[in-house]
Structure formats: structure tokens, C-alpha cells
Symmetry: C2
Subunit: 227 residues, 2 copies
């Protein structure tokens, strides 16, 4: 490894794929691009990494600057570095994915950096700038995958929730229906949520509210089937 100064450097950015449930739809947060290239198209929130900040902090900061969101669940996804992915020159982007509770308010009037942020249902996404389509597709695969063996689904719900709401969350993301009794039995057996004393009244019988136990182990040990 030689000294760093001798080499030209790619620009380094972070992008964030933020998921949330809005009106029973799985949505991604997009911002409208104000400038070329891809002016007027939608893109993932993101921007340059500062010299003194962590990658995850950069992703957090960009998400907040462009959408007002704070404290969302955030995780590094993959780093995209194809030489031609940005027409302005070499830009390498560390993509993250974020999960936002559905009751979280998003500032859809833009902040300093972008014109406007908006939730877009996954099944009617517009064309996206750069390679962002590919990044979203990968983030979705990872979300589905993660949902099957970790407790990450709770990050999309408010602090307390009913079992039916939780089941609907899983159903929407996985795109298939689940059996109510099996769902409840297994999620309770896993010991990652606990009942509160409260109930929520609506139409019909009131439902008990549950809360995520943050002392729970997030990774559910998956049975090995290969060998």
C-alpha cells in the first residue's frame, strides 16, 4: 500500500433506500432531482460523505437533510462502483437501507438539498436516476430475506402494535398470506415481543397491544438444511 496522495480519487457518496408502509402499501422514499443529470427524475436520497464522518452517519445525515427523518433503523446494504454509473465522473456510492415506522411524519417539502421527498409504492415506481432501480431491487430482496430470519419487521411499526397489524406487515412485504394461528404461535414462541396491558378499541373486539422486546436476540437461529 503506497501513500494515498498519489492517486486520483473517486467521489464517495451514500444513498438510502428507505422503506415504509403507507396505506397498506410498501413504499420507498424518493426525492425529485432538481439538476442535471436526470433533472426532473426521481432518485434515492443521498449525497457526499464528509471527511470526518462515518458512512452510517453520512447516510443518517442525508436522510435527515432531505426528508426530516431521524432515528430510523439503518443498515449498510452494498457498495456500487461501476465506472460509468454516474455520467459526471467516477462516483462510488455506499447504499444503505432504512426502515421507517408508518406513523413517522416525512417533510415532503424539500430541505436544503433536495426539492421534495415522497413515498412511492413499490409496485408503481417511476423510472429512477442512475442505477437506483437496481439498488432498490436489491434492497427489497434483502428486506424480504431479512424478514424471514430476523426481527427487523418491527422497525416498520409504531412502538406498540397488535398482532394483526404485525401479521399484515409481514404479508405485505412477503407478498403472500399467512395463517393467523401459526403466525401468532410462532412469533410468541420466539419471545421477541411481549404483551402490554393496553388494548386498542376499534370495530369489534379490542386487540391487545404488544411491544418489541429490545432485550430479545434479533437473529432467530435458522435451522440449517444444507448440511
Amino acid at each position: 500500500m503506497k501513500y494515498t496522495y498519489e492517486y486520483p480519487r473517486p467521489a464517495l457518496t451514500v444513498d438510502v433506500v428507505a422503506f415504509s408502509l403507507q396505506n397498506q402499501n410498501l413504499c420507498v422514499l424518493l426525492v425529485a432531482r432538481g439538476e442535471a443529470p436526470f433533472a426532473g427524475m426521481w432518485a434515492l436520497p443521498g449525497g457526499f460523505v464528509n471527511m470526518d464522518e462515518d458512512l452510517e452517519s453520512a447516510a443518517e445525515r442525508e436522510l435527515e437533510e432531505e426528508t426530516g427523518l431521524r432515528g430510523a433503523y439503518l443498515e449498510q446494504l452494498y457498495t456500487y462502483g461501476a465506472p460509468e454509473r454516474d455520467p459526471r465522473g467516477r462516483v462510488v456510492s455506499v447504499a444503505h437501507f432504512a426502515l421507517v415506522p408508518s406513523n413517522e411524519p416525512v417533510r415532503t417539502a424539500g430541505g436544503s438539498d433536495a426539492s421534495a421527498a415522497q413515498w412511492h409504492p413499490l409496485n408503481e415506481l417511476p423510472q429512477l436516476a442512475f442505477d437506483h432501480q437496481e439498488i432498490v431491487a436489491y434492497a427489497l430482496r434483502r428486506l424480504r430475506y431479512k424478514l424471514e430470519y430476523t426481527a427487523v419487521g418491527f422497525e416498520l411499526l409504531p412502538e406498540t402494535f397488535t398482532l394483526t397489524e404485525l401479521q399484515q406487515t409481514y404479508e405485505i412485504i412477503l407478498g403472500e398470506e399467512l395463517d393467523k394461528r401459526n403466525f401468532r404461535r410462532r412469533i410468541l414462541q420466539a419471545g421477541i415481543i411481549e404483551a402490554t396491558q393496553q388494548k386498542r378499541s376499534g370495530e369489534g373486539r379490542p386487540a391487545r397491544l404488544y411491544r418489541y422486546r429490545d432485550d430479545a436476540v434479533a437473529e432467530v437461529k435458522t435451522r440449517r438444511l444444507f448440511p
Copy 2:
């Protein structure tokens, strides 16, 4: 997103955690550092990304330059970007992990870039430069994890191998013994290897040689247990 030129840029490197089995030990390939910082310590092979090359190509190239290895299985792992991880300044590194068949010869007399490459058993690793200890630990977790639900283990063996060799590979990496009959039944049922007509003679009864079927689906669909 503004124009790229306005911002100072971190340096961008790739590092490679290359695993191989050597004398029944799971090993990592390390190079001895010639210069400060961390002169004389061991480090992961790696180096700067060129402006016109893919991240994965950069990892491949660095691995070849420093060790002579070509065509190994290679996959992006995680991007490390803590501001203080390199004392020379801000360096962000895209870590990869690689799997090298045990019969592959490594040029342990150094090439252009590094002084010497050597396999080091995982259970007696020396102190490593930078945050490379952490990177190796994460790569190992990922390798074990991947082994349980994908066919990636074959990448550590020569083109043909016996079932006993394959089982030993799994046992070494997972760090536990497996039942011979169950192992064979399952790996054959999975349909990812096929018998050849050859046998290998040694002490005792000759063993049939198998080969990886590259038309096989690499991901074994894991049964969901959550929910």
C-alpha cells in the same frame, strides 16, 4: 446532489479476505507490510481502486498482484469507513471475501506491491494492521453463515473431490462434527454435485470422485421459521 468537484474526497481502497484450507486448517492470506504505518505487521492484501475499474475487478487485480491468485470466488463483503481507521488520512475500504481451492499455488515471494504473502491459520492469527482484525472476524462469520444455506463450500476444493473431503471441509469451517450418512444423503439430495466415473485410491477402499454441477442452483432455499 451537487457537483462532485466541490468536495474533498476520501481515498478508496479494496481489501480481500482470502480463505483456503491448508493442512486441515482454515487459513487467511496475509501480506507483510513493508512500510509505515504498521511496518512489519501483517495485513490483508489490498490497494487503491483505479479510476476506470469496477470494485470487484480492483479486488481481483490486487489479489493477483500480491499473491498471483486468479479466478478465485470473490464477493463483496462490507465497506469500512470509520474516519480514523487509517492514520495517514481518510481511507474508505471496500472489503471482499475470496475462496481459494486448497491446491492453488500462492506466490509467497512478493510481487510488485507487497513483500510476501502467506497463509495463516485462523486460530493463530498474528496482530493485524488497521482494522483488519475486525474485517477478518466479519468475513469468517459470513463464510460460516453462507456455508449453511449455499453451495459456496465447493469453492475451497479442487474440481473433483471425495465426499469425505467435502465433509471435512464443512466440519473444519463450521467447527463441529457432522454425521456421515446424514451428510451424504442431504448433499446428494440437494442435487448440487454429481458423481464422476473416477475413483481415488489411497489407504483403504478407493473413494468415488464428485464434481460440482455448475448448472445447480447455488442457493438452497431455506425453510422459513420466522414466521
